[in-house]
Symmetry: C2
Subunit: 335 residues, 2 copies
C-alpha cells in the first residue's frame, strides 16, 4: 500500500474546488505539506504506512489506532500558556469584586505582569502558582457558564509573540496536518494536556477537529446540583487530577482504556515522558514524537534544565522534531 | 409464558438458518425486529427520524448524537449482578491464600451464597457490601492482569436464571438492536454503568459493539508504576467514583463533555434518574428510555420500594419499556 485511498479521494471528488493544477495536485498528494522532506517526515509516514497495511506484520487494527497529543507546546505555542491568559482575564473580573485577591503575591504578579517575580519561579513553583490561579478563576461556577465565558474570551484573544496574532493562529500548521493525516488513516485523535479539560473543549473541534469526548486534561472535582432551577454540573474549587507527567498515562487508561499507538509531546518540563513511555510499552508497533523548540527566529528556543525529555527520546529511540529544520511553516495557515 | 427465549432462538436463527422467506425479508427492513409493534417502538423510531432529518426543526447534528446506556438491568440481566459473580470468583482465589477474608460476615455470605443474610440487606447495604467485595477482589493488581483475568472468566461464566446460560446470552436482544439502530443513525453509543469500567471494557466491544473508550463505570484510583520491569497502570484499593445516581451525570460531563441526547436506564434503585434528567436538561431534543422489569415469566419482575424511577418517568414524560409487552424476545439471539 502506498498512499491512503482517502487522500486520493479528496483530490478527485472534492466539492467544487479550484481547477486542478500541477501544484494543487502535488499538495493534495502530500498529506504533510508544511513538513520539510527530512528524515522526521519520512519516519512518520513510514510508520503510518506499515500500521495500515493489512497484509503486513505491523498492521494495527483500527480500534487500536489511538493517538494522543499534548496541547501546550505541541499543538500551540506555550510562551505564555494560553489558558493562563484566560485565567488572568477571569481573575481581573474576580478581583474587581474581591480586591483582597490582589494581596496574594503570585496573583498580584500575574495581574501586573511582574516578569521579574514570575521569572524567578522554577517550573514547579510556576505550575503551583498557575494551579492556584486556575482554582480561583475557573472554579465555583457551572460548566456551562465556564465554557460560554471561555468561548467568548477566545473569540478575540490575542497571542503576543513573536508578533500579536489571534490565538487560533498560534497553533502549529504541521501538527494540524499531522492530526488530519492520522485521522485519514483511521486513527482516533485525542488531546492529553496539562490544560484543563473543559477549557480545551471549547476550541478542540474548531482548532483541531477533535470532539469534546476525546479531550483529557487537568480536571476539577465536579458535582451535580440545581442551578437556577435546572440540574447542571458545578465546578468545585478542588483539582481532582493534574494531567501532567505520570498522571497522563493514568488518565489515558481511565479515558481510553488502552495504550495509544501514537503519542506526541514536547520538550520543556518532562511533562510528556509518561505518556510517551506508556505508549512504547504496548505490545505491537507504536510511535513517539517529541517536539524540540529550537527555533528562536520563528518561534522560541528553550530547553529543559535536566534535559530529561531529550534523554528519554534518545534512550527510547523516539522521533525528535526540530522545529527549525523539520517544519517549513510554524503557525497556522489552515482556516 | 415460561420458555426462555434462548431456546426458541436455537431452533430458528442459527448462522445456517432457513432460506429467505417473505418474513425474513420483512425482518431485514425492520431495524428493531425484537420489539413488538407498540407505542414504545413507534416513539423511539419517531425520535430517531426527527433528529436525523436535516431539514427539520428537531435536527441534532452528528456531534451531539451521544447515547448513554446503563448496563446492569438495561443491557443485561442483573439478578444476580454479573460482575459480582466475577468478584466472588476472585474472592475465592484470594481466600485460599488469605483465609482470614472469610471471617468478614458479608464475604462469608457471598462465598457460601447465604441467601438469608444477603436478602436481609437493603439496597444501600448490599451496594456497600458489593463495593467492599470488589475492592478486595479487584484491586491491588495491574489493569492488564485484571482484564486478562476478567476476559478468561467471562469465556466460560454461566448466568443462572431463568435457566443456566452463557453470560453473553443474558444480554437483551432488543437493546442490542437498539444500539445498532442508533449507531446506524449516527449516534455514538456509550456505557454508563455502576459496574467497574475496566471489567465492562473486557466485553463491551464483543457484546455491544462499544469500544473501550466509550465505557464509563465505577472506577478505582490508579497509579503508574513499574511492574516486573515494565511501566503499567496499577489499581489501588480505593474507589475514586461510584458511578451511580447523581454521579452518572458528573462522569458523563467528565468523559463526554456534553449532555447526551439519548439515555437508557432501568427501574430498580433509582440509579439512572440522574443521567436521564441530565439528558433532558439539554437545549434541543432528547430521549429518555426507562426499562421496567415486569416480566416474571421470561425474566424477572421487580419494583423499587419508593417507585422513584417510574415517578420521575411520569413527571418527565419519559418512555417506559414494559419488557412483557414491548419485547417479543428477551435474551440475545445475535451472534
Amino acid at each position: 500500500m502506498t498512499l491512503p485511498g482517502i487522500l486520493l479521494v479528496f483530490g478527485s471528488c472534492g466539492p467544487s474546488g479550484p481547477p486542478a493544477t500541477e501544484s494543487a495536485n502535488k499538495a493534495v498528494s502530500d498529506p504533510l505539506p508544511s513538513w520539510s522532506d527530512t528524515a522526521t517526515k519520512k519516519t512518520i509516514m513510514a510508520f503510518v504506512e506499515k500500521v495500515t497495511t493489512a497484509s503486513g506484520p505491523d498492521f494495527v487494527t483500527p480500534e487500536d489506532r489511538i493517538a494522543t497529543f499534548d496541547n501546550d507546546g505541541t499543538l500551540w505555542a506555550e510562551q505564555p500558556i494560553i489558558e493562563s491568559l484566560f485565567a488572568m482575564h477571569r481573575l481581573k473580573t474576580a478581583a474587581e469584586k474581591t480586591p483582597s485577591l490582589k494581596s496574594k503575591q503570585s496573583f498580584k504578579a500575574f495581574l501586573e505582569d511582574d516578569k521579574k517575580y514570575l521569572g524567578s519561579l522554577d517550573h514547579d513553583e510556576l505550575l503551583n502558582a498557575l494551579l492556584q490561579l486556575i482554582m480561583v478563576a475557573e472554579a465555583n461556577t457551572s460548566r456551562e457558564e465556564f465554557q460560554a465565558s471561555a468561548a467568548e474570551f477566545m473569540k478575540t484573544a490575542t497571542y503576543p509573540k513573536p508578533a500579536p496574532m489571534p490565538v487560533k493562529k498560534a497553533t502549529y500548521q504541521p501538527m494540524i496536518e499531522l492530526l488530519e493525516y492520522l485521522r485519514a488513516n483511521g486513527f482516533e485523535t485525542w488531546l492529553c494536556s496539562g490544560g484543563t479539560t473543559d477549557f480545551m473543549r471549547t476550541i478542540s473541534q474548531e482548532y483541531y477537529g477533535i470532539p469534546t469526548q476525546q479531550v483529557m486534561g487537568t480536571r476539577f472535582k465536579q458535582q451535580y446540583k440545581e442551578i437556577n432551577g435546572r440540574l447542571a454540573i458545578w465546578r468545585l474549587p478542588q483539582i481532582e487530577s493534574i494531567n501532567d507527567k505520570y498522571e497522563k498515562p493514568v488518565n489515558i487508561a481511565l479515558n481510553v482504556g488502552k495504550r495509544p499507538s501514537f503519542v506526541a509531546g514536547n520538550v520543556r518540563s518532562g511533562g510528556d515522558i509518561g505518556q510517551l513511555s506508556y505508549s512504547q510499552g504496548r505490545s505491537g508497533p507504536s510511535f513517539q514524537l517529541l517536539i524540540n523548540h529550537d527555533d528562536a527566529g520563528r518561534e522560541f528556543a528553550y530547553q529543559e534544565k535536566d534535559n530529561a525529555s531529550l534523554n528519554a527520546a534518545k534512550a527510547g529511540n523516539w522521533t525528535v522534531v526540530s522545529m527549525k529544520n523539520d517544519w517549513k511553516q510554524i503557525f497556522r495557515t489552515a482556516p
